[in-house]
Symmetry: C3
Subunit: 288 residues, 3 copies
């Protein structure tokens, strides 16, 4: 499916390339606006889309998961500008990666671990060429001075190879990702994300669950929260399923989240608050 085209601008020809932004900058100040000003100066035709700026400060793993939940839905040639960068100014390399149908620009600190695991890596380079940075690069806001200019120059049609020397994909940093552990009929896993509604997303992919809807009907499936006195047996295809059962209103249930991972929810309620649990909570799913 993937055609080896060498620049984002070639691919999109008549259409503006998309630059999608994922950061831990928050929206309380002007950091994100400044990134966009820098990009608009270099690549005035780029279309800017905010993916999220609410990654908790310095939380690389959450940034990695948020990217995993979203990148596939973006146009071919999209340039993901991803900045969660506690090591800004230190030795960590600034990089750009061409992987699958997309480009990824950011620090080499593990933020792209799941991309590297899932997609074919066409090329990766260190962003060392001063021609594609702002004239003065600060030691504390390289998003503005280095990463945004690189993403913008990519959007303006500069080849990946112009930015600096190629890096071997196997040399790129990867986070140790907690994989669910299958032990007989048990899957030992953890909560890796809490969404805006308080739904809890686990690291159990739908591919580990009984297929063809049997996850919802097969008896005996239950989720244990070892640190709590809680077992969840109820499963639902969607949040408002069996809404007539009023007495079960605040009961948590299992569902397959739109991210394609197993989730825990409460209908019209906040599961994280009701259960009192959050990211990192160990869980065990028993399949029989």
């Amino acid at each position: 499916m993937y055609q080896d085209v060498s620049t984002a601008s070639q691919r999109s020809s008549a259409v503006s390339p998309v630059v999608a932004l994922l950061t831990d900058f928050g929206t309380s100040g002007v950091f994100v606006g400044v990134l966009k000003g820098v990009i608009a100066r270099i690549a005035p035709h780029a279309q800017l889309i905010d993916l999220t700026h609410a990654v908790p400060p310095q939380d690389i793993a959450t940034g990695m998961w948020e990217l995993e939940f979203s990148y596939r839905y973006f146009p071919v040639g999209t340039i993901f500008l991803c900045i969660v960068d506690p090591g800004v100014g230190s030795g960590r390399a600034p990089i750009a990666i061409h992987a699958g149908d997309w480009y990824f620009v950011g620090p080499d600190n593990g933020l792209f671990s799941l991309i590297l695991q899932q997609q074919t890596i066409h090329a990766a380079t260190a962003l060392s060429n001063p021609a594609y940075r702002l004239p003065h690069v600060s030691s504390t806001f390289q998003g503005r001075d280095l990463f945004a200019p690189a993403a913008a120059h990519l959007a303006a049609g500069v080849h990946l190879k112009e930015f600096g020397p190629f890096i071997e994909p196997q040399q790129l940093q990867r986070l140790e990702i907690e994989q669910p552990l299958v032990v007989g009929k048990d899957i030992q896993a953890e909560v890796i994300h809490e969404d805006h509604y308080g739904n809890l997303i686990s690291n159990i992919p739908a591919s580990l669950l009984p297929a063809n809807g049997q996850f919802f009907t097969q008896p005996g499936i239950r989720l244990f929260l070892p640190k709590r006195q809680v077992i969840i047996e109820q499963r639902r295809r969607f949040f408002a399923e069996s809404p007539a059962v009023e007495q079960r209103k605040d009961e948590p249930f299992l569902y397959i989240d739109s991210t394609n991972y197993l989730g825990i929810a409460v209908q019209n309620g906040n599961a994280a608050q009701i259960l009192g649990i959050s990211v990192g909570e160990p869980i065990t799913l028993r399949l029989a």
Copy 2:
């Protein structure tokens, strides 16, 4: 004034159609970004504008009011993608409506009640044609899989009739909207919105108030908060009116909000906090 043009793209010709987004998705995660990625893929020339993503989770009535406060200011042909959808995955129909000068895409759950009340309905359809959905439609994020693709295909020039069968306007869901009740010289009403500054907006439209500025000058007008020991007599044309009266600094006053409904404010203060009241509070305006 309205010309019966059949697609958004015809209307805007040289200009990109606007897709305006109103959801309860919040901005803590990637939900909104993913919607935009999906739209950019299908309709790369669409201009995306965030209306709000801070509708309280599952609060259809607030979404309805926020839309009422804003849609008239948008360009002819704007497509409003509105997702406050507690019934996602259940039997509620996904719909698109061509009403007045605009298009509205979302769940048929009452979100569009005020549009239906105020605008001429040219056409409404159920979004059942799989050609205008993503290949896999999840049961929990139909904003991504179904509504965003529909809005994007509309923006790309697909006719409303292509999306599915027409629905008779009178069959569309409507919320029961609390109308102010005029009893002699009293208007019994309620607070329907609190804005970012803590100003409280009522459901009393300016059209029920004495015209030509007489609301501000006519003696005897006062607002009662039956559940509190509070009567508000002061009225102001704008927030900083009579700013010299320092001793009245924290006093609440009545004004005509920019939404064209009666409001309650405190100058440079948060009326909702100072009065301790919020959405749903009953109020009575006495006009003599």
Copy 3:
């Protein structure tokens, strides 16, 4: 470097002019979305960039600093639409300024003080021409009815002189800006900003500090917080410098912020919370 071109649209020719938005509107409601709808109607080709909407309500000084930290990074011809306007509806003039390479639209209340101090003022006008306002101008949301239309008409190519009479630059409102006071080897200053990470930015510009990196190496430099029992001697070029020194993990240090002002930070921590200080805190930097 600056060429005297008279309209934003001439300058950008093939490229859409940027309209950058800075307000205290927050993102909990539809205020910002409505501004954008109004602009899209008048100037459909304008590119809209959010600078920030999180200026604390009515806090003109913070708005002024946020603009200072960002405007230089935006494209030539950018129109900054800035609305922090506690005097809305009162006598304060709505204005547009052409200063340096950019345009600034907003209330004449001091928001542009630092622009006026730093840039050449080419022209300033009062926005009195009703042709460039919405038909009805409310007394409480002139961002929508007056400022956004003015910014949009500028983006659409209308000359500054069409909006109303010219104003002499020296007649424009200026805030009294706390300048750092140099007394021998001491610089008496204050904290003027707290960023998303809790880093504290002072009003001491880098130009007052020892040059060529000597600020980081010269012995004896220390910051006093007169209201606390705190002296900060540690200085870092970047946040992750000397990360091996684990016992110094929560220690505050001085750095030169990306805004080019002296800052106080804690590595991977929130300096404002850890030190318990915020905007307005007096500080003294001793340079020997």
